[in-house]
Structure formats: C-alpha cells, structure tokens
C-alpha cells in the first residue's frame, strides 16, 4: 500500500530530478532527508520556496521538491534573494541550501545579516570543508590540521558557522551529520516548524576530494568523533502521540511555533540549549577535542522575525490588490497641495 502523509500526498510528490553529484556524496543523503522531512511534516510542496547559491550543495534543489518553485541564485548571495522574496511573500516556507564556500567565504556577509534580521527561513549548510565544484580547494570551515586527499594539511583557523550564528542571535542553531538520518530528519522537521531563522550546519563528506581519514569531515572521522548532545524525536502537532515512545530517562521538550515538539533525550547533561554560553561552550570544547558536537545547540523562540519587525501588512504583499498598492488620486492631490502651501 502506498503511504500518504497528513495532507494525503505520496512521498513521490516531494522528490526532484536525478542528482548529478558524485555517487555517495553526503549532499544526496541530505536531499533525501529534506524530502523525508517535508513529506512527514505534510507541507504543501507549492508553498515551499527552495533557495540556493552556487556550488555542489546549491545544485541540489534540482534534486528535491520538484513541485516547488526555487532559485539557484549567485555565489554567496542566496540570503539576500530570500530576504526580498520573504518581504513580499511571507507565507512561503523558505528552505535554503548552501555550502561552506558559499556561506563561510564569499557569502559570509549575507549570512551574518540574514541572521541579524531573523528572516523566517530554514538555512542548511552542507559542510564538507572543500570547494567540490572547482576540484577540491580548502574552504573556510576546514579544521586546523585537517588534510584533504591531495595537498598539505590546512593551517588556518576554521570558521565555526554555528558559533557565529549563536553570537549573532540566531533563533535556532543545530549541527548534524549527513549520515545521521534520524537526527538530521528530526532537526530539519523542527526547523520547518520554527518561525524565524533556523540554521543547520550539516557535516557532509566530500567523497571525491576529502573522504580520507585525515580529513576531519570524512565519513570515518565523523562517525568516530560525533559528540551527540541528545537523542531527538520530532512530534508533529497533527499526531502528537502516535509517532514516538516516551523515553525512560530524562528529557526536555522544545515547543515549536506550529505546535509541534522536539523531544530531547539527554545525553550530555550539562548542555542547555536555551543558553548561548552553554551552546558556545559545547562547540568550543568539542573543537578543542577535535570532535564534532551535533544536535540542537541553541534555541530562542522570542526573537521577532524580519517581517514582524517591519510591521508589514498581515496579507502577504504579493496578494494585495492594486488599490492597496497604489494610493488614490485624491491622496496625490493632497500631496501636491501640501507642497504648494
């Protein structure tokens, strides 16, 4: 029997074109998780807008959600295009995919400012530490001492996008691994239920240029050094009891904007996702230990979104009729008269 989601759509309604990435690429796993998350959450595909920049990761919107409009923009500039689209149609669910080159180097400025605005979007970075599409140069997120397949180990300090996002007041910050299907799907689903900027840094090994064991973002390395903060269960607002068993141990529940819940079964007892200092501490400790901390790092539901802050009309601006977009002829007479007096 074909399975249907809560709005009675098959999963095939959420798939996209055939991937042209290297076989085994972590990005394809993330695409599958995106498809899974959107389907399980029962989002209407046409209400999603897929956004990306340039690079291997930014090509992936062609491979998922074929029923959604999307924009594969220019290098490092996806956030600004998303911002403009969000301003005129805040009812769209913006799902953005970027890479570590696209976000941490050429696009670092736009990354910073889109977080400051708390734009209502899901921002996924598919982070492999190298520029794949130009054949394997280091990116700015590669760890000091990490070595790609060819060349010398990286000597520069990495940019930790999660730490940066937390410092900028991002309302939802998480890190995951393309190979952690359950964790990643739960985080993407929670991100989709969040209102505001939801940033997920997903370590996604580049099988062609940096999957050797000396690369800190290779499959083997991440599997061996994944410091999982908590076991995650996403409980959708439309079926609160069916999907998960109540854990026996300690747990916390994150109440998301759409009424769904993210349940965190505690592994690292000292981590507090509502405390930026605790989250930053977890990141820096794991960095020092040359490990990767994953899970929901930080969450703050009380940040107004960009459209809230601007006091825009309740109706998305694209749906306003001409009489609301163009002031009346009388008003122009008043404007003219005001200048004349």
């Amino acid at each position: 029997m074909v399975r249907l989601n809560v709005i009675e759509l098959e999963k095939s309604e959420y798939t996209g074109g055939k991937s042209s990435l290297c076989p085994g690429c972590g990005h394809d796993q993330i695409s599958n998780n995106i498809i899974q998350a959107a389907w399980e959450n029962g989002i209407q595909p046409e209400k999603i807008a897929k956004m990306s920049g340039i690079g291997c990761s930014s090509k992936t919107p062609a491979y998922f959600l074929g029923k959604s409009h999307g924009f594969n923009t220019v290098h490092g500039r996806m956030p600004s295009v998303t911002t403009g689209a969000n301003m005129v149609n805040k009812d769209l669910s913006f799902l953005a995919v970027s890479g570590d080159g696209d976000t941490a180097s050429i696009g670092i400025g736009q990354f910073i400012h889109v977080i400051r605005r708390n734009l209502d979007m899901v921002y996924i970075v598919e982070n492999n530490g190298v520029y794949g599409l130009t054949k394997g140069q280091y990116s700015a997120t590669v760890e000091k001492g990490s070595k790609k397949k060819k060349g010398v180990p990286n000597q520069q300090a990495p940019i930790d996008l999660c730490a940066m996002a937390i410092n900028l007041g991002c309302s939802f910050v998480a890190r995951s691994f393309s190979g952690s299907k359950k964790q990643l799907t739960a985080l993407i689903r929670a991100a989709m239920s969040h209102r505001g900027m939801a940033f997920i840094d997903v370590i996604s090994p580049c099988v062609t240029f940096a999957n050797n064991d000396e690369s800190y973002k290779s499959y083997n390395y991440v599997k061996a050094n994944d410091e999982v903060l908590h076991i995650l269960d996403y409980i959708p607002h439309f079926s609160p009891i069916e999907e998960v068993e109540v854990p026996e141990g300690e747990f916390r529940e994150v109440n998301l904007f759409d009424g769904s819940t993210l349940r965190l079964e505690t592994v690292a007892a000292d981590h507090d996702y509502t405390d930026a200092v605790s989250a930053l501490s977890a990141i820096h400790k794991s960095e020092k230990a040359e490990r990767h901390v994953t899970g929901l790092l930080y969450y703050n539901e009380n940040v107004p979104t960009a459209t809230d802050a601007l006091g825009l009309s309740e109706t998305p601006l694209v749906e306003l009729s001409e009489d609301l977009l163009r002031p009346s002829e009388d008003s122009l007479e008043r404007v003219n008269a005001g200048f004349r007096s």
Binding site: A49, K50, P79, V81, L92, H113, L310
Partner: protein, 594 residues
C-alpha cells in the same frame, strides 16, 4: 546705472555644517514665492562639517537654470576660500562679506559691502551665533534686491516648520541684516527683483523625492537600499512617505523597506522580491552599480523584474562623491558580464522623475527584466519647479503572469522561457502558485527552464532576449523633439542637460546657428531618434561626461552611413553644466567639420 530686473547670479560661499543651506533655501524660496523664475545649485563637499560649499542662485526671466557665466553678487562667509572666491570675480561684482572674518577684501574694482554678521548674531544668541550669522546675508540680499518682506517671512516659516523659536530667531537676524544694510550701505543695487505672476500650482522639489513619490504611486512593495550620496535622500523620501501613503488601513505597511548590508545584497533583495511577484526597487549611485553588476546579469538572464535607480555622481572609483555627471550611462546599458542590454529610463525634469518612478515598475514587469532609472546629482538633489504631479494614466501593467490553472490551460506548450506569441517575452508563474514550478537559475537553460549547455539552445535564448529588449524601443518614453525648419543642426541630449539646453540654444542662435533638439528619454532608443538624425545636416550628441557615452551607443547602433554626420560634444568637470562651455564646444565642432 540701468536696472537689471530678474536676471543675475548670486554665489554664496560658506563652510559646510554652518546651517547655510537653510539661509540659501530661504533666499531661493522667497523669490520663488514672488513668482520669479529661480533655480538653486548646491555645490557641497563630501564632508559633514568644515569644508567649503557654494550655493549658486540663478534668477532669470528667460527661465535659464544653469549656473551663469559670471557671478553678479558674491557672498563671502568662508575664510578658507575667501581669497580665491574674491580673485575670480569680474570687476563690478557686488561683494557682501562677513566683516568678522578678519581677512582682506582687496578688490577696489568691486562693490564691497561688509557687515559684522558674527558679532550681531552672537548678540541675539551667543550659542547659535555661528548658525545665525548666515541669516544676515539673507537680510543683506533681501535689502539689495528688494525681496518682499512677506515672501521672506513665508520662506522662513516653511524652512523651520512648526519651530516657533527658530522662526523668531532667524526672522530677527534677517530683519537686523536688512536694517544694517539700509542704514550703513549707501549703495543702491542695479540688480533687483520684480514679482511675476506665480502659478499657484507650482512648487519646488528635489528629483530624488519626486522619484520616491513616483515609486510609491507605482506600487513599490519593497525598497532595499544602502546609503550612498547622492541617492540616500531618495530612499529616505520613500521611508518618509510610506507611513502616510502606504498603510493597509489596519496599521500594516504595504511596502517593506530594508537597509541592506551592501549594494550586492540590496540588488539581491530586489531580485527576490521580483521573483516572488512583488515590485522591488533599490537606489544607488555608480559605485553601487559596479557592485550590483553580478545580480544585474542574473535579472537579465533569468528574466526577473526589478528597478534600480542610479543617481549619478562623478566617477571613476570614489571620484567626486558630491558632484554631478552623466558618466554611468554606457555602464547601465550593458551592465554585467556577457552580452546584456538593459532598459534605462532617463528623466529630464522632476515631473518625469515622478512619472518614470511609477512607470519603471510597469516596464520591468512587462519586459520581465531589470529596469534602470538614470538620474544625476544635479536633478536628484537640487530643487526644481513642478506644477504638481500627475496621477498614473492607467492601471498597473503586471505583465505576462499566469495566475490560475485556467490561464495555464489556455497556453499551448507552456514553458517558462518559451516565446509563445512572438514578442520575445515568455509567460511566468509565481512561487506559491504551484503552477508549473521551475528552479530559476543563472546557468544556461532551455525553454522549460531546465539546465542546458546545448549550443543551439543557448544561442536561441540570447537571440530571443535581444528581440525582447529591442521590442521595448517603441513602448518606452519617446524622445522629446523640438525642430527648426531649416534642419541645419540637431542636438541630441538627455537627462539633467534639459535644464541648460534652452540657454545653449539661445547662445547658438546668437551665433547664427539654428538648432533643433532631441531629448532622449530611454534606452534602447526609440526609432524617432534615428529619424531625427536623418533629417538634419549635422547632429551633435551633447553630454556631461568625458567620452561621449550616448554618442558611443549611437555609433554602435545607427546605420553606418549616418555616422559621419554625427559628432560628440562631451565635457565634465563635476559642475552642473554651464551653457557657455557647451555652446562654445558645439561651435568649435561645427567650425572643424565645415
């Protein structure tokens, strides 16, 4: 000496940040109030306080608005430029100077009128003495020229709207200035003003504010901007007017305004807004256009509507940030890498600033492309006369957007980039509609929007894009042509040169050259521009830049046989165009070629 009525030039030399702009505008507005044709040019530095600034007021019954060849009345307030300002004056110039600036005034061939402005100002208010000192020259000029007391008072009221104390203080200073001049100066000025019948509908406004209002009446739904002189006041005018004019009735705004992190982001936001079905706009100057060029190519190739206003300042690079030029035209026309071509609207008056402000959105959505508004500092930041803005003459043109399954069904073989009806413009659908979605991209794509590197597909796409933009020629604002019977000389010009052309024309007339004029108001050019060239023995393309940028475009686009009779006259020094400079250059070219 014979009286010279309503025909003279005043130059006021002050330091930036001393409040002199208020004094200058009071002089300007009081004469405007009397119905006298007057224009003002603010020559200001890239600085907030201390550097020299000049304000040139041209009074002319003939309607001349350019800075004149000579200064008739010089006001000296700034010690830093004192000697140089003085040195450049013609014999006989009336010099009003602040006696408290302890510098020599050694021009016995001029009329020297001193006033202890700072001392008098300090007596009224010791703290604000520096600012109020400038009001004394207003009084001095009012006395010399015979400006009506009532007109002065109204100008002061308007300048300090609602601030009773400021009105009182400044009026006192002006009155004291008038009294001092009357009691101490035995000189009677031969320059004077006479009231003219004032059109009750007329008022003065900056081009930037006119564009802002035009955009608001054009249904702008998102403005993104990054501060840059001389375009910031355009964005700030939008911000000022949105609350009053663009509220949805329940307290929500119908226009989002975002101060972006840089010009790249500002352009990206316009693209996002246009893609999602909104009317996005940004405003900037040349340096911003350089940064936006990447996105401008994406607008062109992915066929997304958007509007960018360029208020031109002097380039290249940071250039002269507070001076005027028409130096960006060729860049705008072909901005971004690869083969591109963009629609450029070029207003020459504040009325056109308003009109093109709203029309730009219609063109952008009709042609599914980025449309430039091209303005410059002179028209954008100085005040010009209008008799009131005209309401748009028809509903908005939202272009070829499919909004329902029914409409989609009516189109056989729909593809996002398929030209189904021969005008080069495909239909589009909007995100959220679920109608035939595609992944927009800046990479090569076929008629269905699918990635393609196929040679024929690329070639066909580029040819269609050319056809599409070419098709706009007859839709865009047509040139304004004023033609003489004998077709001896045709002058093609554009933009703010409109404010100098009448005077140039009169100067050429005095030299025995009968001149027709053709003001280009949009790129790509209307076919009538070519016809204008055909009808004239010689054509000169007149512009405020070094290289003759429109001339370059004309040479590239017009038939080869026409080129030998077209000549370039281009000059730029950062100053608003002075008629004599250009008329002399035109006569020189005519001499050379005859």
């Amino acid at each position: 000496m014979e009286k010279i009525v309503n025909d003279f030039v005043i130059n006021v030399a002050t330091a930036n940040g001393t409040g002199s702009q208020s004094s200058n505008l009071i002089i300007l507005h009081s004469m405007f109030e009397m119905g006298i044709p007057v224009s003002g040019k603010n020559l200001f530095p890239s600085n907030i306080s201390g550097l020299p600034t000049w304000f040139i007021i041209r009074v002319s019954d003939k309607g001349y608005q350019a800075p004149g060849d000579v200064t008739n009345i010089q006001v000296l307030m700034n010690k830093d430029t004192w000697l140089k300002d003085l040195e450049g004056l013609e014999p006989g110039t009336i010099v009003i100077y602040n006696q408290d600036v302890k510098l020599p005034v050694e021009r016995e061939d001029c009329v020297l009128l001193g006033m202890p402005m700072t001392k008098m100002a300090r007596k009224i208010n010791p703290k604000l003495g520096r600012l109020i000192a400038n009001m004394y020259y207003v009084g001095a000029i009012a006395h010399l020229l015979g400006i009506d007391d009532g007109a002065i008072e109204k100008a002061v009221q308007d300048q300090f709207k609602g601030k009773e104390k400021a009105v009182e203080l400044n009026m006192q200073a002006i009155s004291e200035g008038i009294s001092f001049a009357r009691e101490n100066w035995e000189f009677e000025s031969h320059f004077c003003v006479e009231s003219r019948e004032k059109n009750p509908d007329s008022f003065l406004i900056e081009g930037n504010e006119a564009v802002a209002l035009g955009a608001i009446y054009g249904g702008i739904s998102m403005l993104s901007w990054y501060p840059i002189t001389p375009s910031s006041s355009l964005a700030e005018s939008v911000i000022e007017w949105v609350p009053e004019l663009r509220s949805d009735g329940s307290g929500g705004s119908t226009c989002a305004v975002i101060q972006a992190e840089d010009e790249l982001a500002a352009a990206g936001m316009v693209l996002g807004a246009g893609w999602a079905g909104g009317r996005g706009m940004t405003c900037t100057s040349g340096p911003g256009i350089s940064l936006m060029s990447e996105f401008i190519g994406l607008f062109y190739f992915s066929e997304v509507p958007g509007v960018i206003w360029d208020v031109n300042r002097v380039g290249p690079s940071t250039g002269l940030p507070t001076r005027t030029q028409q130096g960006d035209l060729s860049m705008l026309y072909e901005a971004s890498h690869g083969d591109t071509q963009h629609i450029v609207l070029i207003p020459g008056t504040v009325d056109e600033c308003f009109e093109f402000g709203w029309r730009a959105f219609d063109y952008a959505e009709r042609f599914q492309t980025m449309v430039f508004g091209f303005n410059d500092l002179d028209l954008g930041m100085n005040r010009w006369t209008t008799n009131g803005f005209q309401y748009p003459d028809g509903p908005m043109d939202r272009g070829k957007v499919i909004r329902s399954q029914e409409e989609m069904g009516a189109i056989a073989n729909y593809g996002r980039y398929r030209d189904v009806d021969g005008d080069g413009i495909p239909f589009r659908t909007l995100p959220g509609s679920g109608l035939d979605p595609i992944l927009y991209r800046g990479t090569g794509h076929d008629e269905d929007g699918i990635y393609s590197e196929d040679p024929q597909v690329y070639h066909d796409t580029m040819e269609r894009l050319k056809r599409k933009i070419d098709g706009s020629r007859t839709n865009l604002p047509e040139p304004v042509i004023r033609e003489e019977e004998d077709k001896e000389l045709g002058v093609i010009f554009y933009g703010s040169m409109e404010n100098t052309i009448v005077e140039i024309d009169d100067m050429l007339g005095e030299a025995g050259v009968s001149t027709s004029t053709c003001r280009v108001r949009a790129l790509p050019m209307h076919p009538e521009v070519e016809n204008f060239v055909r009808r004239h023995d010689r054509t000169i393309v007149l512009e405020i830049n070094r290289d003759g940028q429109l001339f370059g475009i004309i040479r590239k686009e017009f038939p080869t046989e026409l080129i030998p009779k077209i000549h370039s006259v281009a000059y730029s020094d950062g100053m608003p165009p002075r008629a004599r400079v250009y008329s002399d250059m035109i006569l020189e070219v005519l001499n050379e070629v005859s």
